[in-house]
Symmetry: C2
Subunit: 202 residues, 2 copies
């Protein structure tokens, strides 16, 4: 069974404070042109998307330079403990090299509230370092960012070539399940890109 | 082994005649903002992308309304014969319900030439009808369109809920292989969307 972990992108999709809002304009219409077509203006970090090292690191790699093998792997779901990232729970999740680790905070229920971008748990340095040490391929969260100021977790993860997926949804569908993650960003040669993220429950 | 069948999207990516060109502008820069971020303006049919019924049919379904199961299936590669679609070759390919059928024309070698959009083989009505009859999930091509004027193949396929992937590349990597296709568009609620298309050779 496949589960879509992706939020839709439209003009109402919330954006990280300071990021440009999405704009959608018709570019062709059936009555006049024979087909419908649109011109879409989006930030590279809108909706469910992936961060490349270039997002936070000077001269860091752009997203297109990663082989697609990086985007597919065994998924592991780790829930937070008392609304905080917990190293013990992560250690208990049996993370192997190449895994894609998803943290479930429940923040996605507040996606359309201001709180989503203001009051969320930061990922401690130790968690980011553990994921790099274990050689996870990616980490995914149902929040807008693993960091508040300074972007410490971002920098540790991206320097270790652990890609970051933000704004996931539907993680509750994966509770207690074994699954593979397919997280495919569009092929922009930039710091990040919107992605379609799907779990295949095995 | 995974094979990426997707072209990169940048300001030089060719667009279908009349479609808006891609524009990429910085939205954040590490030196000033602490992170790199971009604002990207793209047509819904740029690069490797997927067409939904709404592209060609009045009140047709938009791409987000399809379950992600539609985007994954057994792939079948069918080469053209003397630079033309050939029903006999398609019949010989043992198409089953739910298959994703990729036609290899070799046109992708001319992606950056004017000829790519002018001189390519149209898909005969019979081929489109056969794919609908066989209940293929999707059809993919290494060309800009299955049609010239009138969009006959588009309309037959899309009316039959066979989605269309255009501007594929690297199909020669699939010759003689068994494979599964994962073709994931970003979750725009529109007539189509850029997609990442990957084959898993089994």
């Amino acid at each position: 069974m496949l589960v879509d972990l992706t939020v839709p992108i439209n003009e109402q999709t919330p954006v990280y404070p300071g990021d440009p809002a999405t704009k959608i304009a018709p570019a062709g219409q059936i009555a006049k042109d024979g087909y419908n077509d649109h011109f879409v203006s989006i930030g590279t970090h809108v909706g469910t998307h992936m961060d490349a090292p270039n997002h936070m690191l000077e001269n860091g790699k752009t997203l297109d330079t990663f082989n697609v093998n990086q985007f597919v792997g065994r998924g592991r779901l780790v829930t937070l403990k008392d609304d905080a990232f917990d190293l013990k729970k992560l250690e208990d999740a049996d993370i192997q090299e190449g895994d894609i680790v998803l943290f479930q905070s429940g923040m996605n229920k507040k996606y359309h509230e201001a709180e989503y971008f203001e009051n969320y748990p930061a990922m401690p340095k130790e968690i980011a370092e553990y994921l790099v040490k274990k050689k996870a391929k990616m980490v995914g969260i149902d929040m807008c960012s693993p960091d508040h100021d300074e972007f410490i977790a971002h920098k540790i993860l991206l320097a270790g070539d652990v890609l970051i997926i933000e704004n996931l949804t539907n993680l509750e569908m994966l509770e207690g399940k074994e699954f593979t993650i397919y997280a495919f960003p569009i092929k922009l040669q930039l710091d990040g890109a919107p992605a379609r993220v799907v779990a295949e429950i095995t």
